[in-house]
Symmetry: none
Subunit: 241 residues, 2 copies
């Protein structure tokens, strides 16, 4: 099986129109993908989704439904969030094409990747965007850069399929990467340590800890690195008490 | 004006569903295109087309309607026909990506190009395909290679826009990256902190600190991140003494 099919998950967050879910299923199957996760879809299953899925009914039938993004991505090592808007704090960003190369490489190494697509009317919240390791943007005309959600998914799946037709280079890391959940705990432990050292006022952390979170999420630490950092933070907290 | 907007025409042949015409208009405007020609559309104008066009109502309003392809393409120098099927007679063929490069070049030279998209259920006839100079295919999973017409248009317009943009996306980092020397000092400071915490025996550090060095070098911290980590290490060393 194509590694992108095995390890890439498309995550639709609170989709309003069932037709879009069907169109996404077809777009995925056209490009050799099948793992679809739905976070609180407004109407699903629905005949309109089935109609627009065409011959991709199997992708719809296999879709998993979750109440939260956290639950859907807990086994993912890397999370991409699609975004069209500019943010106050810039996050690591990749074009659909560059992201597809990277995701293809991660999948070839056996690492699970989730790609988040936001709501039809207002995309992903800032909180959801900050959960991701990287933002993915589809370069488009600045006069009207917001693609329909099914169209965005089509472009991303198309780029993934094109990237998967090339040979990736082998893995270099010695240990499996931290899961998204482990990374979140690492970042919480770091923040706690910073507060204990009284480097930052917990009541007014400003942007600094968001920036440091971004740094850790960009790092993709592996198990050995992540665990050593956890031990490092633990020992600091022991010795300053 | 972007030459692809000025010289590229999207031609939809006998489209059945007005919603698809609307989706195509949006896909075009998202990617900086506006010349739309409709050959005998079944229902147009139509409220569903208008709804799905989003903010691309101007593209719909400007669409020109013809009774034959010949009439629509009479000023075009080059005609591409999208096709998913293998033909009895082989025709010159290009992938969407390669075709986009070529079309961008033609447009830059001021030559009008038409791109034909066929019917929802049976694409373009052999006669229509033979009218074209070249066939354009979107590489897709052989198990289900037939994209919805609006999706095909999105992928082709996306590739055209990418080809027309030589400018890469801007940098996302807020601060300049650490220099190699600054990074080396950061790593030395980390190692010293690890020794002071007695986490690792300085006489027998084993591979762990080499691995952590690799991690920091992979991170490419920027000035803000690096300086915060330096302050973090300094404060740890102050408070454990």
């Amino acid at each position: 099986m194509n590694p992108i099919n095995q390890f890439v998950q498309i995550v639709l967050v609170e989709t309003s129109h069932p037709g879009n879910i069907g169109s996404v299923a077809r777009a995925m199957k056209n490009m050799g993908l099948s793992n679809l996760a739905l976070i609180n879809p407004k109407k699903f299953p629905d005949p309109e989704a089935t109609a627009l899925a065409g011959n991709a009914g199997d992708v719809l039938d296999g879709a998993r439904i979750f109440n939260s993004i956290d639950e859907a991505v807990k086994n993912s090592k890397v999370i991409f969030a699609t975004s069209a808007r500019e943010r106050t704090i810039e996050w690591p960003v990749a074009t659909a094409r560059d992201a597809a190369q990277e995701i293809n490489q991660l999948a070839a190494e056996g690492l699970e990747v989730s790609i988040l697509f936001g709501r039809e009317d207002r995309g992903l919240t800032n909180e959801e965007l900050q959960l991701s390791n990287k933002h993915l943007i589809i370069p488009a005309d600045p006069d009207y850069p917001v693609l329909n959600i099914a169209m965005s998914t089509q472009v991303v799946c198309y780029e993934l399929y094109q990237a998967s037709q090339k040979e990736p280079i082998g893995p270099w890391q010695d240990f499996p990467e931290y899961t998204s959940e482990e990374l979140t705990h690492l970042i919480e432990h770091f923040n706690e340590t910073v507060y204990n050292l009284k480097l930052v006022d917990p009541n007014n952390p400003k942007q600094i800890l968001t920036r440091m979170e971004r740094m850790f999420r960009r790092l993709y630490p592996d198990q050995m690195e992540g665990n050593f950092l956890r031990g490092f933070f633990k020992e600091i907290n022991n010795q300053i008490k």
